[in-house]
């Protein structure tokens, strides 16, 4: 039982920043990553469409016998998590709850900023999650649509990235937040730039790090951790040809991707 893998998926390449933290925290665990590169991005799609995709992918990963599912996608975490937890009988971890919990832990003033894609911000999922834990928190949000293409272009510290970040972050900075949640899996690549603009008085919360901690805690609690002496294997599946995923993914993972396989979800067996 404890030799099963951790399943993890995202609409594309962004979830690799979460996988990176999981591998760093739990190097002994096998992982199976699915990137829905044929249908990326999810942020501009309707909740109904995103929910349908999430169920298809979870079925795919379940057929590969996983012990825990990480939804490493803010859009899916925002709209589809309760449905996945109802339908599938394994622990499901999203990226929003861990990030919100950490933000509430570190804020002193209670003024918390959240940045993400237009879809994530429109869903108000972080605001709701933070308010659930700390009802008197003041949550300020800002959509940053250009951050994802900047990260994928590798423009993370040039003048274009800086001016874009200054424009997006100006209001949050002037509003005097002391904590800023990076509510998109692409944003860790822009972390040094965002930290520089926000200054030393603002703590950045990286959902990827918190999600990895949550995964470790759940597996330990359920006695599903693999012995730490082992070294995990990592498998990657995508829904479109792997070339683009491999090119950008190596930068996101901060290391060498293993073999990446293309799969057609429509032709991959039955529900689990």
């Amino acid at each position: 039982m404890s030799w099963q893998a951790i399943g993890i998926f995202d609409s594309g390449v962004g979830g690799l920043t979460v996988l990176r933290e999981i591998i760093r925290t739990l190097p002994q665990e096998d992982t199976i990553y699915f990137g829905d590169t044929a249908r990326v991005p999810y942020g501009t799609k309707s909740p109904e469409t995103v929910t349908r995709y999430a169920h298809e992918i979870t079925s795919f990963l379940c057929r590969r016998d996983i012990k825990l599912l990480v939804v490493a996608c803010n859009t899916v975490s925002a709209v589809a998590l309760p449905g996945l937890k109802r339908q599938f009988s394994l622990p499901v971890v999203g990226v929003i709850e861990p990030g919100a919990r950490r933000a509430v832990e570190v804020t002193r003033s209670g003024r918390v900023g959240v940045i993400g894609t237009a879809g994530t911000i429109r869903s108000s999922a972080y605001t709701r999650a933070i308010k659930r834990l700390k009802p008197d928190a003041c949550v300020l949000t800002r959509a940053c649509p250009l951050f994802v293409p900047l990260a994928e272009e590798g423009w993370t510290d040039n003048q274009v990235a800086r001016l874009t970040a200054e424009s997006y972050l100006r209001e949050l900075k002037e509003a005097g937040i002391d904590t800023l949640v990076l509510g998109c899996t692409h944003y860790p690549l822009l972390k040094p730039l965002i930290a520089d603009i926000m200054g030393p008085d603002v703590t950045l919360v990286d959902s990827a790090e918190e999600t990895a901690r949550t995964v470790a805690a759940i597996l330990a609690d359920k006695h599903l951790l693999r012995p730490a002496a082992e070294e995990g294997n990592h498998h990657y599946y995508v829904s479109d040809i792997p070339a683009g995923f491999i090119r950008v993914g190596n930068r996101f993972l901060g290391g060498r991707l293993g073999d990446v396989y293309q799969v057609d979800l429509d032709k991959d067996g039955e529900e689990c």
Copy 2:
């Protein structure tokens, strides 16, 4: 027969710049536009995936009894046009051939630049189309991945857009091209900025304008033009909820969108 509509599709909202030119050129014609907003963007997807989507959408439009199909998407025009022409028995017009033809007409030096998404540039479709017409042309290309999100964000003349465009266009400018093809349907929104950076000695070729002229010529040749006294109706279909399409689309169309309907291609009848 001549009362049938012109069918036009794109992966999303970008093709509306082509529709705008068609309406300007042929205001009497009915049009049916399909934007595949649930699966946008196509530029990062494999040729096989893009071809499959193009056939699904063409079938959908054929069931609505169109007399001519405009593929208002550079990615689809680059990879799927021959297949569509083989399988469907109506005139099919892409955006690459008209843009290439115009570039060859206007260049004096034979040094032609082409900008587009990574997928369009990687396909070399413009280079091949230009070289077919003018084998001694020197074609220089550059992918500009940030132009699409900049256009959709409405950042078409600020400092971020200017620095990005200067970075992307520098080599083309230094290479002394005299003609630049805007090889992506989003780029007409950035045309004033691009023209300013390239200077008065470089002629910009807008594929949308040339495509509209080609459509008019084919319909006239086949005696399928509607009498000019009429005023056309315009229908819009999208594959995801219409809110985002309407918001960005009004800017792209340069006017008021009519009603936009969401359709599920999987549940829309049979092949035509």
